[in-house]
């Protein structure tokens, strides 16, 4: 026992202080890609390279509609690489000087959103005859970081003095998301400092934290778990797979995202979402439910 005490004293406080202070990210950490829609001259190479179809486009009557869905994105960086390669080719032809890549990986991971549509960006372009973009007609922006930030403060405030019980449900994941959910409980991320506990039974849970894709074989179990969770309950869909089916999409064995089966309150992008991203989404969901107590009866 002496050894243990010794160790505990030596280590001291290991806990990171997110979201109070910004997390320590490695310089190399890849968050979501960001897009300079004005400067983007061709979405095709990025769409071609994207493994999950998060970047897609449709050409009609000389107009291209490009969509970027963070709910499918696995933060792989292939769009950035493909875009850089095509920009280099183009600049060689035009002999222009330094070309900045319009698709760049950022360190942003605070992407959780209550509205699935907030995870989708769109841009509309008129086209050159060779298929490259001529002019940007319109674009929508992504989830704004500001507003959720405030909500999270409200959530933490609401939590003070009470506790939240989470039941985790793996509805078909690759177990990558579970790795990071487990990490939430280690001393570094220490989710218990918010009074948030993982519980064994849905009957004791306020929140279901669900990973996906929802497989055909887990659909019934997920429905039953949801039904066994007392109202009011919050459902958080975790990871590209939990949001949209991710790289698996929908197929004979996969029903896609969690909201294909039960109503979802907050979506947390990532593959897997890092622990801080999960925490952000969980706190957002709390703010959500406190602010809009009617959110469940809506459905």
């Amino acid at each position: 026992m002496f050894k243990i005490l010794q160790k505990t004293f030596k280590v001291g406080v290991a806990t990171a202080d997110y979201p109070g202070i910004a997390p320590q990210l490695a310089e190399q950490f890849r968050g979501c890609p960001e897009f300079d829609f004005d400067a983007w001259s061709d979405a095709r190479p990025a769409a071609e390279a994207c493994p999950t179809g998060a970047i897609a486009f449709r050409d009609r009557d000389g107009v291209r509609l490009v969509t970027v869905d963070y709910g499918r994105c696995i933060f792989c960086g292939e769009c950035e690489a493909a875009s850089a390669a095509s920009a280099v080719q183009a600049s060689a032809v035009q002999a222009s000087a330094t070309q900045i890549n319009p698709v760049r990986m950022s360190q942003n991971f605070e992407l959780a959103a209550a509205d699935r549509r907030d995870l989708v960006l769109t841009a509309e372009y008129t086209l050159h005859p060779d298929g490259r973009h001529a002019e940007l007609k319109s674009a929508t922006s992504g989830p704004s970081a500001e507003e959720p930030g405030k909500r999270i403060e409200a959530a933490i405030h609401n939590l003070l003095g009470r506790s939240l019980s989470i039941r985790q449900v793996d509805a078909g994941s690759c177990n990558g998301c579970e790795q990071e959910i487990v990490a939430l409980n280690n001393p570094v991320h220490d989710i218990e400092r918010f009074g948030i506990h993982f519980v064994a039974s849905p009957r004791h849970a306020d929140m279901l934290l669900v990973t996906g894709p929802v497989t055909r074989n887990m659909e019934l179990a997920l429905r039953k778990t949801w039904a066994a969770t007392p109202d009011p309950k919050v459902v958080v869909a975790v990871g590209a797979c939990g949001i949209s089916g991710g790289i698996f999409g929908t197929n004979y064995a996969s029903l896609g995202g969690v909201d294909a089966v039960i109503p979802v309150d907050v979506y947390v992008p990532g593959c897997p979402p890092r622990p801080e991203a999960l925490l952000y989404g969980i706190l957002l969901a709390l703010g959500q439910v406190r602010q809009r107590p009617g959110s469940l009866s809506r459905r």
Partner: protein
């Protein structure tokens, strides 16, 4: 190897059609019919070979037949032997080996489910991969489209083997479990406290992965390989890339091989550390788990520095790795390892200092060596029960052929020794990484991208942290695959849990289960 192949030809002239070295070190023995039993028996008993896996392929539209593949290796021989047995489309049946070789029980039933080929004479021919509520479909047949919409799920219909006798009852658990773990169903038959037997039902997380491999362009399929089993993302994706590289004869630059080796070992270290903590946790030693979680975080941060991802995603690529390392990144490896080595030693000391922990782990969940080798158990679980297998040494890849390292093997086969194997391996992995870093060559980090030629087959094996991962591919037109077979070590090892829990009390099940820590997603795909 050549003498063995000659011998097969001479002893079985009727059955062996041809022998070819399809890829260096991989010999394909084409048989003239579906019956592989005589040759398999000869290899197993006469030549001490091991049957690593059995799988099938639908070649009906191309060649008019299905194929069954039986993959063997032999101690001391780095070559693989793949028996290839054609099965006529008009008579889709093959003789089962499961009665004499229980290790292929599930693999043969998977073939029944996926392809509709009957394993004739199988002692328990029920469905295993497709649950009983599935319609009569065979998803890996070429005439079954990936996007087939099946009628909705109507509830469970599986019948478990009943338990009889006074005081004997069943405890059903799952598919949703109490902790943060993957879904599966366990049916315990107990007599008072002790477990009489355990029946397992897996494939709850089946998501069409092998079928999906046939649709994605090969470069994108690398990301699917990362999602077979998230805790082994790098090992599975490396196995996949190696299979493609061998099929397409792509030379991986030396620097890339070194980088891959380092990352493979970091994946092992991260998982072994968390398992050590989790095993302690399951016998009530929470402080040890907290320390393990902290040390693991150090490793994950290093992983992020090296790949941009805490769990090593988006790094490995066909031909090498996606990103090269700067000097500072390489220095981070050395610095972190020094701290991790020290902290891990403390963690082990903490675990060792607790006599009550030792009591709970010792003689709990015993898997005897005879059983382990008979059931074909691999990886950590095998090595704790006398099965001396390690792909890194037996079929070396990347930099392992140039490295010397020891492979810990114990005979006791209890939870404690599965923990000890992990502890020993963390130290070995740290030494492997140090040796690899010390000789890190300069040069390109990836071979130039190139289209993959069609019609090539190759396999690859990687020692993931859990054990032997195998991928087998057949390339097709348009930079796509015709087939990708994925074998996670978990598939070999479920029978080990069934064996190890017998006679133990239900309260010890969590720690026994954790000491194997198998991947449900890797099993179910």
């Amino acid at each position: 190897m050549t003498t063995l192949l000659k011998e097969l030809r001479e002893r079985f002239p009727e059955q062996v059609c041809s022998v070819e070295e399809s890829v260096p070190g991989q010999f394909t023995v084409l048989l003239n019919g579906p019956d592989a039993t005589a040759i398999a028996r000869h290899l197993l008993t006469g030549r001490q070979a091991r049957l690593a896996t059995v799988f099938a392929e639908d070649r009906v539209s191309a060649e008019g037949v299905f194929y069954n593949y039986y993959l063997f290796d032999r101690p001391g021989d780095p070559a693989w032997v793949l028996l290839k047995a054609p099965i006529p489309a008009g008579h889709p049946s093959f003789p089962s080996l499961a009665a004499e070789l229980p290790g292929v029980n599930w693999a043969e039933r998977e073939i029944q489910d996926w392809f509709g080929l009957e394993a004739a004479g199988h002692p328990n021919p029920r469905r295993v991969a497709l649950h009983d509520n599935w319609p009569d479909v065979h998803p890996l047949r070429k005439d079954f489209p990936l996007d087939t919409v099946l009628p909705p799920f109507e509830g469970e219909r599986h019948v478990y083997r009943p338990a009889h006798g006074e005081g004997v009852f069943h405890i059903p658990v799952g598919p949703v479990h109490a902790g943060i773990i993957e879904p599966g169903h366990f049916d315990f038959a107990v007599a008072g406290e002790p477990i009489l037997y355990l029946q397992l039902r897996m494939f709850y997380t089946h998501k069409g992965t092998e079928k999906l491999f046939e649709r994605l362009p090969i470069p994108r399929a690398v990301f699917l390989a990362e999602s077979i089993s998230g805790d082994s993302a790098f090992s599975h994706a490396t196995a996949f890339c190696q299979a493609i590289e061998r099929a397409a004869e792509i030379e991986v630059p030396a620097r890339a091989q070194f980088l891959r080796t380092i990352l493979l070992e970091l994946e092992r270290i991260a998982n072994h550390i968390s398992d050590a903590g989790a095993i302690a946790n399951d016998v009530g030693f929470m402080i040890a788990n907290a320390h393990a979680g902290r040390v693991r975080e150090m490793v994950l941060r290093l992983c992020e520095t090296l790949t941009g991802s805490r769990v090593l995603r988006g790094m490995v690529a066909i031909g090498g790795v996606r990103r090269d390392w700067q000097r500072t990144q390489v220095e981070a490896i050395e610095k972190t390892l020094e701290v991790v080595e020290h902290e891990f030693r403390d963690l082990v000391a903490i675990i060792r200092s607790s006599n009550s922990t030792r009591d709970r782990l010792e003689r709990t969940g015993i898997l005897r060596p005879e059983k382990a080798s008979m059931l074909g158990i691999v990886g950590v679980a095998g090595r704790a029960s006398g099965v001396d297998l390690d792909v890194r040494r037996d079929h070396p890849y990347e930099v392992y052929r140039h490295l010397t390292f020891s492979v810990p093997v114990y005979q006791a086969g209890d939870v404690r020794h599965r923990l000890l194997v992990r502890i020993d391996e963390v130290s070995e992995s740290i030494q492997i990484i140090r040796a690899t870093v010390a000789h890190l060559p300069d040069g390109p980090h990836c071979a130039p991208a190139q289209p993959i030629p069609p019609g090539r087959c190759a396999l690859s094996a990687v020692e993931g942290w859990r054990g032997e991962i195998i991928h087998w591919v057949r390339t097709g037109d348009g930079n796509r695959l015709e087939r990708c077979k994925v074998k996670d070590p978990s598939i070999n090892n479920w029978p080990a849990i069934v064996e190890a829990v017998e006679g133990n009390i239900v309260a010890d099940f969590p720690v026994i289960n954790k000491s194997f820590n198998l991947s449900y997603s890797g099993t179910d795909r």
